[in-house]
Each structure stands twice: as structure tokens, then as C-alpha cells.
Symmetry: C2
Subunit: 429 residues, 2 copies
């Protein structure tokens, strides 16, 4: 047998495995769609309890992944994310109970209308069906994503990173135990039991059995998946977010909001990456802000006018306007008016989150109406971009798609609707 034949056998085996995962998920999905909330919530509470009671066993499996990580010289930040510490497990258990307590989105109906012929037309929330989750090394995603999908009545296929293989398999056993305890189909959540990368390619093309795939990870992974995918992706690309300080801004608020927008956390997608400042207030606010940023070690890169005001700033290039630094660097540009600020945003923003600092109703209204990003704020730091902060109760991620769900996605974003019409023998024609 030559190499080519061996390869095709291997590929065929993975394709069959994924097809079987898909078939099982679809069958489970049909049952899960009609499952009452009491069963779904009981399963989640059972999993929370199991997480606490099986702590040692989980950590023993996790230790295998940690050992391999150290052997492979994984970055300390990745090892940190991989670790199922007591605190990480407690957070996961709390999350499960919070999701269990949330109202079930499935079956809820919008306000309905009655048509002239007397038939009633409404919409009912229903699960999306089967959701695939493809993610990198964080094992907590296994629990969080499974819980959100289960609560919203979706069957899930979870494909985590190979670095977390043993941890994910152990968490998968806890999830299955919870499903079983609540008499829900075992295949409602399937954790893929191989680290073969061919699996991912099959998952993203299994259109008959998977309704949507949610990739979690870096932009590189997501772009790669998008290039291959036939199944729709609910995806997050990047967050090149802007704050614009208008001429009418209250400068104390502007200072605090801007500082918070950059320094709350450097690595999250809602962090401000470019600051736009109206020319009228730049001479007052920029030196004050620069001092605060200097004190926190944030490097400034500015347009020509900014550099004239701030000797410490390096000249920004087009690449700076385009960059999501995810670190202690900030691009700064002085603009002549709100129009120029919005033009800059239209040109360079990734469409994630932008904010205007202003006391002018006209400027606030115009900015919120005309800026075409998934979140547009007035007098708030962009780092609020988060499902919990928006009151969604939980978040599967932040979508940079335009279709279906946009911005932070909670339980409702994991559902779709069907039209429900009720009549009494009305006929058409």
C-alpha cells in the first residue's frame, strides 16, 4: 500500500467519523428541540455539582495536558488558560448555574397580529438546530459553549484544541453524565475524541447536519475556516475600536472614558485602538491624556498634528490606523469635525465598537445613526463590548457578521424563529 492510499483511507475514516457525529447530533437535536426547560436546567445543575465533586479526577486529567504543554514549551499565558485551577472550576460551576437560572428562549412568542381575514400571525423562537464549536486551548469553552447551546435547545459538536485534549474529554464525560441524569439524549453534546485536523475540514462542510459553526480563536484560525466553510459561520474577526472626543465633550469624562477604554484590559476585542480628537479640544485634552497614558506605559503613535502637541508620540502610519494592537499602544489622530472622525472610522474600523464623547445631542444622534459598527456608544468606553455588560446574562461570543446575530451574542442569538399562524378555516383566493 503506498502513501497516497493510506492518506485517502485516513481522510475517509475522518469523514465517516464526522458524518456519524453529524447524524447523531441531528437526531439528538430533534429531541432537544422539544425538551422542557426543567430538564435542560436540571442537566446544567447536575454538571455544576459534578464539576465540584470530580475536581480531583478532572485536575488529574488536566495535569496530563499541562505536562505536555510544558514539554512543548507552550507560552505561559496559554498554560495559564489551560489550567483547571480550583478557581477556574468554581467559575465554570457558577456559570452553569447562572445559565440554568436564565429564562428558556425556546417557545417564546413575539407579539402577534390579526390579519383582516381573522388569522393570527406571530413568531415563535426555536433552536438553530446543530451547532459546531471549533476552539483553541481553553477548556472552559467546553463547558460554557455546551451549556449555552443546551439551554437554547441546540445539539452541539465540540472540537477543542489538541493541547486541552485530556481536559476536554474529562469535561465531556461530566456533560454526558448531566444529560443522562436529566433524561436528555446523550448525543446532545458530543466532544470530538480525536485531534486529527482533518476533522475540522469535514465539520465546516457538513451542511446537511450542522446548521452553524461558531469558531473561537485568533483571526488566523477564523479566516482559514471561513475560506473552507460551506456551513454558515457565526464569527468574530477583529476589534479595531475607536473613541472620538467631540468639541462639545466634557473633558473630565473624556479623560476617564478614554483611559478606561484603553487600559481596562489590553487584550480584549473592545479595547480602543485609535483615539480621534476634535482639533478644538486637542490642545487641552491630549497633553493631559498623554500624561496618564505615559504613567501606565501606553505608547502613543500620532498624526502630524498630534505629534506637534505630544513630543513623546511617534508618527503613525496607515498601518497603525489599521492595527488591532491588543497591547499598550494607541494611535491618535486629530480631526477637524465629526464628519472627518466618521470618515476615518468608515475607512479603518473593523466595525466592532466605536464611541463618541459629547454633550451635544445632535452629535450623539448623528454618530449613533451614521456609524456602521455592531455597537455604537455615547459617553462610554468601548471596553463595555460584552454580553454580560449588555444584560444578555451570558455570551457565546461577539459576532462581526452582519447577518443573523451582530455584536455580543447571548441565548437569543443561538435561536431562530418560525412563523406560527392560527386560523379557523380561512381560505386563500
Amino acid at each position: 500500500m503506498n502513501t497516497t492510499v493510506i492518506d485517502s483511507v485516513a481522510v475517509g475514516a475522518q469523514a465517516d467519523l464526522v458524518l456519524e457525529l453529524g447524524r447523531r447530533a441531528r437526531a439528538a437535536s430533534r429531541l432537544l428541540m422539544k425538551a422542557p426547560d426543567s430538564a435542560k436546567s436540571a442537566a446544567l445543575r447536575f454538571m455544576a455539582q459534578e464539576l465540584e465533586q470530580s475536581k480531583e479526577a478532572l485536575q488529574a486529567e488536566n495535569a496530563k495536558d499541562l505536562e505536555a504543554a510544558r514539554r512543548n514549551n507552550l507560552e505561559p499565558s496559554l498554560v495559564d488558560r489551560l489550567t483547571l485551577s480550583d478557581k477556574a472550576l468554581a467559575t465554570m460551576a457558577t456559570g452553569l448555574r447562572q445559565i440554568a437560572d436564565m429564562p428558556d428562549p425556546v417557545g417564546s412568542q413575539s407579539s402577534s397580529i390579526v390579519r383582516p381575514n381573522g388569522m393570527r400571525v406571530g413568531q415563535m423562537r426555536v433552536p438553530l438546530g446543530v451547532i459546531g464549536i471549533i476552539y483553541e486551548s481553553r477548556p472552559n469553552v467546553t463547558i460554557d459553549a455546551a451549556a449555552l447551546c443546551l439551554k437554547s435547545g441546540n445539539a452541539t459538536i465540540l472540537r477543542g484544541g489538541s493541547e486541552a485534549f485530556h481536559s476536554n474529554q474529562a469535561l465531556g464525560r461530566i456533560i454526558r453524565a448531566g444529560l443522562q441524569a436529566a433524561n436528555l439524549p446523550q448525543d446532545a453534546v458530543q466532544v470530538v475524541s480525536t485531534t486529527d485536523r482533518a476533522v475540522v475540514g469535514h465539520l465546516v462542510t457538513l451542511t446537511d447536519y450542522i446548521d452553524v459553526i461558531i469558531p473561537r480563536g485568533g483571526k488566523g484560525l477564523i479566516q482559514r475556516l471561513a475560506a473552507e466553510a460551506k456551513v454558515p459561520l457565526l464569527k468574530h474577526l477583529d476589534g479595531n475600536c475607536h473613541v472620538y472626543i467631540d468639541s462639545s465633550a466634557n473633558l473630565d469624562k473624556a479623560h476617564d472614558i478614554t483611559l478606561n477604554a484603553k487600559t481596562y484590559r489590553y487584550g480584549i476585542c473592545g479595547t480602543m485602538e485609535t483615539l480621534l480628537v476634535h482639533a478644538d479640544v486637542a490642545p487641552t485634552i491630549l497633553p493631559r491624556l498623554a500624561a496618564s497614558f505615559d504613567a501606565r506605559g501606553v505608547e502613543l503613535r500620532g498624526c502630524e498634528r498630534t505629534c506637534a502637541l505630544l513630543p513623546q508620540a511617534r508618527r503613525a502610519t496607515d498601518e497603525d490606523w489599521a492595527t488591532e494592537y491588543l497591547g499598550p499602544v494607541l494611535a491618535v489622530r486629530i480631526v477637524d469635525d465629526i464628519e472627518q472622525a466618521m470618515d476615518h472610522i468608515a475607512r479603518w474600523s473593523s466595525g466592532h465598537t466605536e464611541s463618541i464623547i459629547t454633550e451635544s445631542l445632535e452629535a450623539a444622534t448623528r454618530f449613533q445613526r451614521e456609524v456602521d459598527s455592531s455597537s455604537v456608544y455615547v459617553n462610554l468606553p468601548t471596553c463595555f463590548a460584552d454580553g454580560f455588560e449588555y444584560g444578555l446574562g451570558a455570551e457565546i461570543g461577539i459576532s462581526t457578521n452582519r447577518l443573523h446575530a451582530r455584536g455580543p451574542v447571548g441565548l437569543e442569538g443561538l435561536t431562530t424563529y418560525k412563523w406560527v399562524l392560527t386560523g379557523d378555516g380561512q381560505l386563500r383566493g
Copy 2:
């Protein structure tokens, strides 16, 4: 120069053409997003007037397509659809004025909430952006689709069938005149000016410039596009629709609804293709229905039990359960209970529209809750599946997707939302 080189030059030229269409559409979209409803509606009313005033010129262009159609022996039904008769033009003008009169979906805000920190969180409807429409020979789609997309603030690229080339170009000139009269960007609606098929392949992969593509046409066209597309498709595949007559049905209603569901029009996607009948009422209702169907020339194909009751019925095969006849043929199956009816639907339905005929609240509730189709009715014929009937005022099509818009899609389905948050200096952390 050999053939290969000529081909690659041609392909390159079409790719450049489509890229330029995309760039212009994106630029127009940015302006159209902020256009007031008064301008969009004025453009539509101007187009309606122009359709009426340029009737002769339009019909002269249409005559060229009709002549070619006759030369190419196009089917009479297709020639009929292609014809811009006085009546067809009047219907298009009326449609334009109706869309102009509808409320603008853009800028409307949902109910908002106030978070514990005092910031207000809401959602605002915004256009999808740039919409591509790929359709077959009907020139009225050029006007209808352009009008719906314009009203909802989207830029459009229209690629109609080559059979309607001259008609579509003439309609495109009327659309541009309307845009110009209302001071809207000329590129807000672009009618592709070539019939080269390579254009379609480029359109469905132009992800940077086109946000969604709505294909209108037969299942074959749409499956072909779906296989190639990287841009999301808002698509309609097929309508294999079911009516289930429950044991508790009022049999007079059941007779009339079932007859209407099949015979209102054979060729529309909401037409019933399979009738499911509870065994308790089958001996009463089926012979009565069969007489009515016979009188209308509808051929029946039944399960074994159906054939025992109805000697005129031919035996149905699995292919019958799977088929959207779009003609005077009906598959009939007797079932033992609602469970078996729903199992049949889960197995064979295309997920379009299903209806239960029942006087039982329990059966009605269960059917509407558990049947996973985009429209689920009680005591109504499936042929009501239509945006106008649902009160949407207009319809761009019926979606068989699960994501974004499902079932009949009106203006709201052509929009998405953005989160709008308003605060007063709240900080995170």
C-alpha cells in the same frame, strides 16, 4: 494568442467588472445608509411615474427580448413571464408606490433597557449593506427587488437572465433616473450590463463588497450558486408542504382547507404536496376529498391503506413523499396519530410550511411547538405562505435558511441591527 489565453483574459475582464460593481455599490451603500425616507420614497414614486410615461419605449425594448425568445422557442409560460404588458407595467408601478408608502425600517429602535450602572442598551435597525440579486427571466424582479432593497437602505447589484437583457437594461435606466431625481447615488442600484455567465461566479465570491446574495429561480440554479458561494445566500430551496388532518378535525373545514391548499395554485412553493390523514377520520374524509380532487383533475398517490379506500389512487413510493410536484398530483398517507404525522414531516418535509387541521387545543399546541418548519399553521391552507398574506406589505422572497430571516422575507429581513448604548461616563472594572 491561443484559446487558453483568450479565456483567461475574458475571465480577468469579468472579475474586474464585478470588482468595480462591488466598489461602486459599497460607496453608494455608505451614502444610502443615511438617506432619509423622504428621498428613498421620492425615488420610488418617480420610478412609478416613469414606468407609466415610458411605456412605449419599454415595450419596444421588451419586444427585442420577446422576439429572441420566440426565435429560441422559449416555453410559452416563460414568454408570458417575460412580457411587459400594460397590465404587468401597471402592477409594477403600483408595487413601487406601495413600497414607497411603507414605513422605513431603518433607524427604528427596539425597546431598550437600563443597566444597573445607568447605561441604556438598545438596538437600532440598519441596512444589511450591499445585496446581490441573481434571477432568471422575469423582468418585474428588477423593479421589485430594487425597490425593496432601496427602501431598506441597501445598495443592489442586479443580475437578471439573458432572456430579459434588453428589458432589464431599460428598467435599469428608469431606476437610475429615479435615483437621480431624488439626489440619491446613481450606483445605489446597478443592473449588470453583460450576460456573461462568469459574472455570477465572481458575484457570489465577492465577500468584501457584497453582504448577502438573494438568488431567485429554480432549485437547480440555487444549489449551483450555493456550491460556489462565499457570500452568504438568503435562499429558497423547495416547498414540500404537508397538511395533517387530525382525528379531532372539523371535516367540513378539513375538506375546504385541503382542497384550497392543493388547488389555489399548483406552481407556488406553499402548495400542499402530501396530505396526512388520521386513520379514524380517513374513511369519512378521504372519499369525499378524492371526489373533489378528481373533479379538478388532481392525481392521487397513496400509501397502502389509502389505496384500499380509494381505488383511483396509485401506490406512492418514497420518491412521492420526497417530491415537490408543483402540479396536479398529491401524495396521501394515513397515519395512526399526530406523532406519526410529525415523524413523517420530520423525515420528508423540506421545512417550508405545514398545517394541522384540528379542533383540539392540545394537538394544535403540540404541532405548532414541535414541527420544525419555517411556518406552522393551525386550520389554514399551506398556500397562505406569502409575505403579503402575513402582513409584511411586500416580499423579497421566502427563505428556507435557518439563520437570519426565515419564511417570508419583507423589508425587516433586508436589515440587520446595531447595538446602541448611551451613558454618562460610566466606566468598566
